[in-house]
Symmetry: C2
Subunit: 413 residues, 2 copies
């Protein structure tokens, strides 16, 4: 075990983030870089250039993930680290990009200081995580690596203009029919550094968190139907107005999460009213309920309380209820040994850390199907993300990268 | 006073409604006939033909209302009757159209049986009531008659494609700059027959109602702002989520109307969520509250209870509240003498009636600025309107037309 301190140049972190933000720059502090766009391609090419310059063996896989490989001296599974290169529309400079930059800078620092590792190290810049262009892509890049892409996804997954993800891949020079070649079965460890996207590190006064699990997520699409009526000619008594039913479900779902207490969360983020006319009682309202809990048993309790409440409200109000589950990601616990390894690495670097779960979904969730995983979270200012206002200080980023590098050193050297 | 029974041919009612429904027909039982469209023009030309054939003096005024005049033998204000020719998108066969057909058939029946009236009778087919094409038209036809159209409305009032109402008028051969010529100051009485659009006549077992007043209506547009956050990374505590505030206001507003009791009504019919993403706490929600009461004092109580509730919910939840009143129509009482005249006319014809208010807005509301008014309501099946499903039986329509004709006879002969 090498116990000396790892130095990361703050200027290099800032310059790399600024360079990436130049591809799809949006205003002063935003980016708009969706998968398979020209700016996305330019950003991936930049990552390739960086990796080449650092002496890594570079390749772009069949779906466009970029890998930089530093071959180990001994056999054994790969230790990989990275995050995603695509952004929200618009997003900020840090979500995804910081993990790519950190992976590269950490491996570069290790290579420069310690030379060849025992275990092969790889840096990866994943092609699609946000689903900001392809809403049903569901972690396209990591899903291809874990072998979960299905052939029909190439034509079924479309952007808002109707372009299929296969067509979009072809437009940046990839052969979509070769997607199976992106699959990996030789990755032993996957580590992702990411901004927290929430306020917990800031509130607790830590720059870095070690993630012991990723929340389970269920998205319900709920349709509550009644009967449209004239807003003036139909008295209150006798209406089959879905709107107060929706209101009761909103308060009920949020109330269930509050009653269960943290880390349960529930959000109603999308709503469509039909016919959406001020002077008409709605015919139906379609809305989403996003419910999350990192603990499998507690998650089931949360979902059950939601589902019985949906049914009760609809029955009591005589409304038609249709509930669809459109996303159902089980909780993905991180590897306890890796959590301890990274906590020890952080302690060795003098970086105090907090152990925490991730309330957001990440590529790591997919990667946990084929590898042991862990995540390193870095403090987000005001807990903001998915906006040009998201911010992480260079000082905090450097803390995170030092923890990442020190953990990788423990695993690969 | 002539006390004999007035006969109306059911076949003529059905044929006239079917003929009108052919202009802009939509499916089996619907119409889609917005103001100043080709089908609207054809319908107005049909009304002109009918009036000419009945010996009425026909003219189309400056904004496209069609008038058919039967000159009286004595001087004095005009006794006018009619309704609107435009429809919802789609609407049914009866809303507006039944009032136009009834006006024509009633005056025709009186002319055939009793010849020239003492007082001048006019039939009117108003050009625009539904605001289904021009959302801010606010009773364009009757507003032109009462002198409430402003010059800037010609360019400010636009349809969804950006066409101004002035351009639309020009497209059907009207000179929009002459809108002032539509003004009338010689109308003494305006009577409108209309479908009820609600369930009260049906529930009480009457075919016809005599309307003693039209409800006051206020439309609020409410913007409730919080802070968008990641649906997973931001714990429940610390969110500034506008959605539960919206839910509380929906339940509060509907609860206020229920607590006050009929005829108070309140409806939340339109809602827009921003950014409207399932996995994001909304930044803000914009929605409408439509509140109505026919009694001026009670209306003020209802509005005050709504407004204090909006403020309380926003304050308690730390949300930003912006409230705009975008429509504010005061209650329009009908003329008590006319109400009694039409009740007596109905009794004379052996048609039992119910005295009631209108919960819907009507051109009559505008016409009350320049004339004494009353309305005759005809039973709606299941209280439906603004849909191809709206239905009024021919038998009920004939009852209404007989009451209309008998009332006009009392006023004009």
């Amino acid at each position: 075990m090498l116990d000396d301190q790892i130095g990361i140049d703050p200027g290099a972190v800032e310059e790399a983030l600024r360079t990436l933000a130049g591809f799809g720059g949006y205003g002063e502090s935003g980016v708009w870089r969706v998968a398979y766009s020209p700016e996305w391609l330019a950003a991936q090419e930049q990552v390739e250039t960086w990796c080449s310059e650092a002496g890594l063996e570079v390749r772009r896989d069949a779906v466009g993930n970029v890998w930089g490989r530093f071959e180990g001296s001994e056999p054994g599974g790969v230790v990989a680290t990275g995050s995603h290169i695509d952004s929200q529309t618009p997003g900020g400079w840090f979500d995804g990009a910081l993990g790519v930059v950190s992976a590269f800078l950490a491996v570069k620092a290790l290579a420069e200081r310690y030379g060849q590792p025992r275990r092969t190290l790889e840096v990866v810049s994943l092609c699609e995580e946000e689903a900001s262009r392809f809403h049903s892509a569901q972690f396209w890049g990591s899903r291809a690596i874990t072998g979960e892409v299905r052939e029909r996804d190439l034509s079924d997954v479309r952007d808002a203009d109707g372009v299929t993800i296969g067509e979009a891949m072809a437009a940046v020079g990839l052969d979509p029919t070769r997607y199976r070649e992106a699959r990996r079965d030789d990755v032993d460890v996957f580590v992702e550094l990411h901004i927290e996207q929430g306020p917990r590190l800031e509130e607790a006064g830590y720059s870095v968190g070690i993630v012991d699990g990723i929340t389970g997520i269920r998205h319900y699409v709920i349709e509550l139907g009644g009967r449209s009526d004239h807003a003036g000619a139909r008295p209150m008594i006798g209406r089959r107005d879905p709107m107060p039913g929706v209101a009761e479900i909103v308060l009920g779902a949020i109330g269930n999460a509050l009653a269960m207490g943290a880390p349960a969360v529930t959000t109603v983020g999308r709503m469509a009213v039909e016919p959406n006319i001020p002077a008409a009682v709605p015919d139906r309202v379609i809305f989403t309920v996003d419910a999350r809990h990192p603990d499998p048993a507690q998650q089931e309790r949360l979902f059950a309380s939601h589902e019985s409440m949906f049914a009760r409200v609809a029955a009591e109000r005589g409304l038609d209820l249709a509930t669809r589950v459109v996303l159902d990601l089980p909780p993905a616990p991180c590897d306890p040994g890796l959590v301890e390894t990274f906590e020890a690495a952080a302690a060795e670097q003098g970086v105090p850390t907090m152990r925490m779960h991730s309330g957001a979904a990440h590529d790591t969730q997919r990667m946990s199907k084929i590898a042991r995983t862990v995540m390193v979270f870095v403090r987000s200012k005001d807990g903001r993300s998915h906006t040009p206002d998201e911010f992480t200080s260079t000082r905090d980023a450097v803390d995170g990268i030092r923890v990442l590098a020190a953990g990788l050193r423990r695993l690969a050297y």
